[in-house]
Symmetry: C2
Subunit: 333 residues, 2 copies
């Protein structure tokens, strides 16, 4: 009933060599004669031997697995990053332990600790907010960590992102150029730095450079769900708002559908710009205009960066900023 009855020792005996030699061929060590190597390989095949990664991990202090903390796999934005992460991880022979955190600081800290206990070689963290406590844990962990599509105002950890300030500023500018004066900023929780310190800042910059006064009255804070977006429509209509910059695609989808359901024609009567360009944006009608982020690449680059750090390679840039585009589809004029 053992999962793993045949060990390196069995292989060694069967092949008439020492376990060290078997270990060498397993690890691609070149110091093995071709003929013995072949013989060992042969025996491994015959015995259907599969190295025990746990034992290997204990001995070598490397588990070839990395932890991935994600708010919610079900979210199209983060799952796209996760896909990029996993593909690159696989490419470099790593596996990922995926853990959902719901953006909950308690869960994040807790899962971080269990990951460290499992001796992951590195961690990719995705989350909308990094508080002091978490930053401390990161520091104390003594484990390579990279943020993917997530922002740390202190830049205390390597990260891969786009320029959120710039992107939102550009969106807002376009909306202004389209003639809108009352533009809503529809956001996820403002305690999240990515919303408050980056996106909102971009929004304000655009208003400012166009001499439009900023008003708290046009800032709508939500929990980023489809329903939140849907429920917001009436209020926006009542305030005679004619356009919105939205920080999340599902949120934008809710707003869009609510508008349409109320007979408000998008984009003629109301324009919407969203932020993440998940699959969803193109599947809606009208299609959502959006910042087009290289989602897969953000994950992929983050994982690649992590491999370099784990590997102690020299890093050119610990704070990668990838390019983005703005694609105007059908939800803007």
């Amino acid at each position: 009933m053992d999962k793993q009855n045949v060990t390196i020792y069995d292989v060694a005996r069967e092949a008439g060599v020492s376990m060290a030699t078997v270990s060498r061929v397993l690890n691609g060590n070149s110091n093995v004669r071709q003929t013995t190597k072949e013989k060992v390989l042969q025996v491994i095949d015959n015995l259907d031997y599969r190295p025990n990664a746990v034992a290997r991990g204990l001995a070598s202090k490397k588990t070839t697995t990395v932890g991935v903390i994600i708010p919610d796999v079900t979210d199209g934005y983060f799952s796209s990053l996760a896909r990029g992460i996993d593909d690159i991880a696989t490419m470099y022979n790593y596996n990922i332990i995926l853990a959902n955190s719901d953006d909950n600081p308690g869960k994040e800290a807790s899962v971080l600790n269990t990951l460290l206990g499992k001796q992951v070689d590195g961690i990719i963290f995705m989350g909308n907010e990094i508080d002091d406590h978490l930053r401390d844990e990161f520091k104390r962990s003594d484990c390579p960590i990279v943020l993917a599509g997530s922002v740390d105002v202190n830049n205390s950890v390597p990260s891969v992102n786009i320029d959120y300030v710039d992107a939102v500023m550009n969106e807002t500018n376009r909306l202004i150029q389209h003639g809108n004066q009352k533009i809503a900023f529809v956001s996820g929780p403002l305690k999240q730095a990515i919303n408050k310190d980056y996106r909102l800042k971009g929004y304000k910059k655009a208003l400012n450079s166009n001499h439009i006064p900023f008003s708290d009255d046009l800032v709508f804070e939500t929990t980023s769900t489809y329903e939140d977006g849907y429920n917001l429509a009436d209020e926006l209509i009542k305030k005679n708002i004619t356009a919105a910059v939205v920080t999340n695609d599902e949120l934008a989808a809710g707003l869009l559908n609510a508008m349409t359901d109320r007979g408000v024609v998008v984009p003629d009567d109301f324009e919407i710009f969203t932020s993440n360009n998940t699959k969803l944006a193109k599947m809606l009608r009208p299609q959502l205009s959006s910042i087009t982020q290289p989602l897969y690449d953000i994950g992929a680059v983050a994982m690649r960066l992590l491999t370099k750090i784990m590997n102690q390679e020299k890093i050119d840039d610990k704070y990668v900023v990838l390019g983005y585009e703005i694609e105007e589809r059908q939800s803007t004029k």
Copy 2:
């Protein structure tokens, strides 16, 4: 530079007990005097000691991690299952190693092997097709495996599903009751058992019981992408088809949008039923009528079942069939 400098040995020395005792309190063994237990706990806290799960795994032959093989995290159907899986896993103190397979038999077999090498305590497999080779690997693995939202015609492995035959039959029946005679079956790859042996069968049963002849001409095999659905519209229109049962939500979304973009009014001129009730279904306009599967629960129940098997508990039913509903929204009359 060690990730884990303080070991159980340090704790033992510091607390003036043996490592065996420390191990006991760590594992909740009752044979420890209350006072010593408290002392040990105190030292653990002081030293910021964190047990090394790898060493523990080697010694105990339990890793408290399970492998999860998924076609693509980016797919709303599977990511919902994955969320259910992770939540229950967390509840039972397991972590999940998530691996994308793209439904590719080669990748599936390969990742299965690396998971087994990592000594996972169990595996949840999601995939649209299980071929003989994979079934063999499952059997040989001698590792608890549960299928989630995935079907094995041979029932060689415990699984959690809904009754796909019945569900598709019901959908088709409704379409027939709505007066449709030419109903398309728009499917993912027909080499996948879930499509060919279950859904298609349900479609045929409905036709049959309504004395409508089955025609291969109305079966459309695709790769299940949004684009596939979009590109199919013209053909369906040309054939004067008035309704479709679709096996995948993104596929259905593509078809829906293509119809709308071509001026075909859904549901007046064309009805659509989809199969998975992912978030997407309700976000589209018109909203997609669908089989409403308990996605999260399928994952959750599968993981719960797996814990029972890993725990050698008695299992009432190794082939769980969860209930489903059919929800008619706006894409059907």
